[in-house]
């Protein structure tokens, strides 16, 4: 190691340890994304997902650069006299830059180590919470899931050093700011990337996996236009009240500090927005898919190879204190074709699990169908219950009964029926799905000459669910298989996604608050000047609050806007299992990240604003 680097590292270390609060804030801006990425990838990725991990870590690295550049800028501005002293005692500008780079290295190492150390209990705690809330997930802790952490650490550390290098290379611009307008070139490049990103996302097929790269282009474009937006706000500040005017102009003048902070909040919020829309939509879709296509039954289903074996299973389970209720359907050698209504093509999709079942009201109740009194009466009168996809004309349903054993033409049937809701109730909350298109009471089935067979049964939904021991006993019976169907507890990553999204919200909140705190540290002399010339406590508070709101609010609103389209497109890619693609936008979540967090941060800034001379800058002379 050269003498120059030795001196740089020593100076950096001394500076960082003598200003522990500022160092801790800067390190936390690096550590928080690492914490999130560490916990996220411990659940989402395995050691074999290297390419996906790199794609996931690139936005994290970008976020670290954006968060760290203003933080290092604050450090450099407050230590400018020391850096100048270094040059005046024989150092070169390179030595000064190396000192800043060394700060990035040391702070980055502290932040990365802290983030990963905290990610371990975070990972363990999240696993415990998931298993407690949803035992079906059976999430286990495997250290192999942490195989990508060294890569994360390297990329985060590299991002920290890159941020320091950017800060060092703009040392001359890290002054007290100025009136120079932002570069039109970067604005044009940013605008171009924004448009390209938008068009790229819009041009994708709904199920395309290429959303992430286009979303990154979109976010990068937005990042590049943030300085111009801040400048615009600063230029328009003349018409604003004093507190807002001061905040807007200060933000404009110190764009080196504020623009990256706003961009960082924006990227974080955009990620949470996209993640939220994607995961909530996926969850919604999986739930709908599960309700419709899986057996719409109770907690335990029993399948058998024949009606006789099912009858044995019913008897055996009764001896085992479990009520098994079979559902009869037309026998294999019969096919009942029921007429559809004329407007079937225009009807909302509501597929039924069965076409025709033969059951009485008691059986239906055991299967979770809640019938109206009229429907129960109709069944008792020997009338069929017709769902919405069956044409009922003059109190009759037209159908044909065909035998699959012969080539004879089917017998036309006129089945007395009433329209009725035959949707079964989900086990817990969820979508109510059609059990069958047509329910024929047994007495009517006999008169129609319909032969039936019951090879599918459920544990009576009105009784407590069978215990594990009772299920184990059932599984020992010959010729049947037992399936535990948990309609609202399908195997999904919902809980993980929701918890990770909440973790992301928390981290965005903390990062926003930290960025605002650093901006306040940087602007404390102006704050104290304002107080010393007679600003009311309320004016001082409002100035602090509007400064915070500018960074957190602008960043959050832009973040929601930038994350919305990729999130919706990602949702389209993830959904569609049920047929229709859709995006379930979690407005409450967006409200939290787009409105509540900025307001909370502004409120904290308001409450904690210095209102007496010397509180903001004790050294004001």
């Amino acid at each position: 190691m050269s003498g120059s680097w030795r001196v740089a590292l020593r100076l950096a270390w001394r500076d960082l340890t003598s200003h522990r609060l500022r160092t801790a804030l800067t390190a936390s801006l690096i550590g928080l994304p690492v914490l999130f990425a560490g916990v996220f990838t411990a659940f989402g990725l395995g050691a074999n997902d290297l390419s996906f991990a790199v794609a996931a870590y690139i936005p994290i690295a970008l976020l670290i650069v954006l968060l760290a550049v203003p933080a290092f800028g604050v450090t450099v501005r407050s230590r400018r006299d020391q850096l100048e002293l270094l040059e005046s005692t024989g150092g070169t500008p390179t030595d000064a830059r190396r000192t800043i780079t060394a700060m990035g290295l040391v702070t980055g190492a502290v932040g990365v180590a802290g983030g990963l150390v905290l990610a371990v209990p975070g990972w363990i705690a999240l696993t415990a919470v998931i298993n407690r809330l949803d035992p079906e997930q059976r999430t286990v802790l495997r250290f192999s899931d942490l195989a990508l952490w060294p890569l994360l650490a390297l990329m985060a550390l590299g991002a920290s050093v890159a941020a320091a290098v950017v800060t060092a290379s703009t040392l001359h611009a890290q002054s007290d700011g100025g009136d120079t307008p932002p570069s039109l070139t970067w604005l044009a490049v940013g605008g171009g990337l924004l448009i390209v990103g938008l068009l790229g996302i819009l041009s994708l097929r709904a199920d395309s996996p290429l959303i992430a790269p286009w979303a990154t282009v979109l976010a990068l474009g937005a990042v590049l236009i943030v300085p111009s937006l801040v400048h615009l706000v600063g230029r328009a500040a003349g018409v604003l009240p004093l507190a807002a005017r001061l905040s807007a102009r200060d933000a404009d003048r110190h764009r080196m500090r504020t623009a990256p902070a706003i961009a960082a909040v924006m990227v974080g919020v955009a990620a949470v927005t996209a993640l939220g829309i994607g995961s909530f939509s996926d969850n919604h879709d999986r739930r709908a898919e599960s309700q419709i296509y899986q057996v719409p039954v109770g907690a335990v289903s029993v399948y058998s190879n024949s009606g006789a074996e099912m009858a044995d299973a019913v008897a055996a389970s009764a001896a085992n204190d479990v009520t098994i209720v079979p559902l009869a359907t037309p026998a294999d050698n019969q096919y009942v074709s029921v007429e559809f209504p004329s407007d079937f093509d225009q009807m909302p999709q509501d597929q039924a699990r069965f076409d025709v079942v033969v059951a009485d009201a008691e059986t239906l109740a055991a299967w979770g169908v809640r019938l109206s009194d009229d429907a129960v009466a109709a069944l008792e009168e020997g009338k069929a219950l017709a769902g919405p996809t069956v044409a009922v004309n003059g109190g009759q349903v037209r159908a044909s009964l065909e035998s699959t054993d012969t080539n004879e033409t089917g017998t036309n049937l006129a089945i007395p029926a009433v329209s009725a809701d035959v949707k079964k109730e989900p086990v817990s909350t969820g979508v109510r799905g059609q059990l069958a298109r047509l329910v024929i009471p047994p007495i009517l089935a006999d008169s129609l000459g319909l032969t039936t067979e019951a090879r599918l049964a459920v544990a009576d939904r009105r009784e407590p669910a069978p215990t594990d021991q009772q299920v184990a006993q059932l599984q020992k019976l010959p010729g049947i298989s037992v399936d535990i169907q948990t309609e609202d507890r399908f195997a999904s990553y919902r809980l993980i996604f929701v918890l990770l999204t909440l973790l992301g919200v928390g981290i965005v909140g903390l990062a926003t608050a930290t960025a605002v705190a650093l901006a306040r540290v940087d602007g404390r002399e102006d704050a104290d000047t304002l107080i010393s010339v007679g600003a009311r406590p309320s004016t001082a508070r409002w100035t602090a609050a509007t400064s915070a709101l500018l960074i957190s609010g602008l960043g959050s609103v832009l973040g929601v806007a930038v994350g919305l389209l990729p999130g919706i497109r990602a949702a389209s890619a993830l959904t569609g299992g049920f047929g229709e693609r859709f995006a379930d936008i979690p407005w409450a979540l967006l409200g939290v990240v787009g409105v509540a967090i900025p307001l909370l941060v502004a409120m904290i800034a308001f409450v904690t604003a210095p209102i007496r001379p010397g509180e903001a800058a004790p050294s004001l002379r």
Binding site: D176, G177, D179, P537
Partner: protein, 237 residues
């Protein structure tokens, strides 16, 4: 004590202010008595570290004494709320900082108008008064410029204009001529004198005996204590 119209605009009685300095405690201001009336300009002199700036901060309500009292325009600063102190700084006492402390994001006129605007004066009117104050200090044409766009002397005059603007009866200046050449420094002192003669009291910290000659009273501090007081004719010109 309540605010009221009186000839005494500053009354410091037995003020003590201590600061920690490593393991030691420094008595920066150690039992100082000082009274300033309307029409009186007091110069405070003394070596570095003698407590001049600390005394001025107490007088301006930027710091509070550990013991003793500081009364500005009839208002006992030790018993005031933060809001009352702020009102005092807007209406009663103007402060010229050693480092000027102009807000860099505001133009010179906006900086000068700041105390007025903070006091509820409409922006247009405040700016008009500020431009007149800048004009009085020969800063015509620089109103729209920001502090980093003008010379050190112009910044200094703008800081003084901010302290003079409005109806304040007490001017506190911490080395207001520190970064100025002699003629400009003399000019600044002359203008302060004029303002005092027009109906204000002033305390000016200075190292320069020629500038102190503009004062009615010169107070010498050493180790936080008043070691000498002398009176002059208050007219160096």
């Amino acid at each position: 004590m309540t605010s009221g119209t009186t000839d005494v605009v500053l009354d410091v009685a037995g003020a003590v202010r201590c600061y920690p300095d490593g393991d030691l405690t420094i008595r920066a201001v150690d039992g100082v008595d000082l009274t300033v009336s309307v029409g009186e300009l007091v110069a405070v002199m003394g070596p570095s570290g003698s407590g001049k700036s600390s005394l001025l901060r107490l007088a301006g309500g930027l710091d509070l004494p550990d013991s003793g009292t500081v009364v500005v325009d009839g208002l006992d600063l030790g018993t005031c709320s933060a809001a009352a102190l702020a009102r005092m700084r807007r209406r009663s006492a103007g402060y010229v900082f050693q480092e000027l402390n102009l807000i860099k994001t505001l133009s010179l006129a906006e900086n000068v108008a700041l105390p007025l605007e903070l006091d509820g004066v409409p922006v247009r009117e405040a700016m008009s008064i500020a431009r007149a104050a800048l004009s009085d200090l020969d800063l015509i044409g620089a109103e729209r410029r920001r502090p980093d766009q003008v010379s050190g002397g112009e910044r200094q005059r703008a800081a003084i204009a901010r302290a003079l603007v409005g109806e304040r009866r007490l001017i506190l200046a911490d080395e207001p001529t520190g970064s100025l050449d002699s003629p400009t420094g003399e000019d600044i002192m002359k203008r302060l004198r004029e303002r005092v003669d027009a109906g204000a009291g002033a305390v000016v910290v200075t190292h320069d005996h020629r500038h102190a000659a503009w004062a009615d009273t010169v107070v010498f501090l050493r180790d936080g204590r008043v070691v000498d007081r002398s009176t002059t004719n208050g007219s160096a010109a």
